[in-house]
Amino acid sequence: MRVDTGHVSMTAATIIELPFGMSPAADAKPDERALVVAAQRGSNDAFAQLVRLHQRRAYAVCRAIVLTHEDAEDAVQEGFLHAFKALDRFLPDQPFGAWLYRIMANASLDLVRRRKVRDADELPEGVPMPFRDPGESDELRRRLNEALTKLTDRQRSVIVLHDVEGFTHGEIGEMLGIPEGTARSDLHHARASLRRILGDVRSDL
């Protein structure tokens, strides 16, 4: 289920001011626990409000794991669907966000696995999937995209989840199903690789 939205262009200034992709309106949370309980009792309106509250962050989690904006959208929808089906198993005393983002991460990892199987059939080996970047005009930015393809999937996810979305090592480990120490080490290696690759790029320009 894909729709070309054309909304991805955003000024960097806005991005830096709102590093987690959250709008100010999304910060004004109603009683989340009450919404969860109501949704568990069958209120679709309550679930819709939970979707509204969490969809930006959910998108950010998915986007860090999958390769394209379209895949992130698919993963977000799958993730919310899984969450809806599993809602009765959620204990309202737990943090809903952490539970939901784990589901989102799993949905994204599933999608990445499916894409890999499909791409192995369709594409010659070694062809990187392009990132969606409609406003791409900057050479260094293009090179950063290329540099990101040199990282492993997990390193890329970890660096985006940590450096862009602000998740802790522990949260990332939980989402990706890896130990916290592994997340920490992946982040270190990812940063080092990007610095090295971009340093090479800069000296080439």
Partner: protein
């Protein structure tokens, strides 16, 4: 959009700025409203499916099956226990035949037969 500026040797801040630009979430409420609508449309599809009913009944059915199994187990155990109790009671509490008469008749019969044989009936 050439707002990403790397130094000669890009440091972490440069990289983070670049990553944020690449991984920027879509802006504008219209996009998020539409995404929310799509999510809720899929949720509604799920709710209309017959499997939802199955899914809804799966847990009560499992619980009922577990209760039935448990009840059957308890009933079988009790039946076994009461049979054993009845057997034990029957053995201990019913001296219907005195021991002497319970053992002797065969012996007496044999003895009588011998005597009848010896003394020519």
């Amino acid at each position: 959009m050439s707002d990403i500026r790397f130094g000669l040797f890009p440091d972490d801040d440069d990289v983070v700025r670049g990553l944020r630009a690449i991984y920027a979430a879509p802006a504008g409420d219209a996009y998020w409203n539409e995404l929310q609508s799509r999510v809720m449309a899929r949720v509604a599809d799920v709710e209309l499916g017959w499997w939802t009913e199955l899914d809804r009944w799966a847990r009560p059915a499992l619980a009922a099956a577990a209760v039935l199994l448990l009840s059957a187990g308890v009933a079988m155990f009790r039946a076994h226990q009461s049979e054993a109790e009845i057997a034990a009671d029957a053995m201990l509490s019913s001296p219907a035949v005195p021991v002497s008469s319970a053992i002797r008749p065969a012996y007496q019969d044999d003895q009588g037969a011998r005597l009848r044989f010896l003394f020519g009936r």
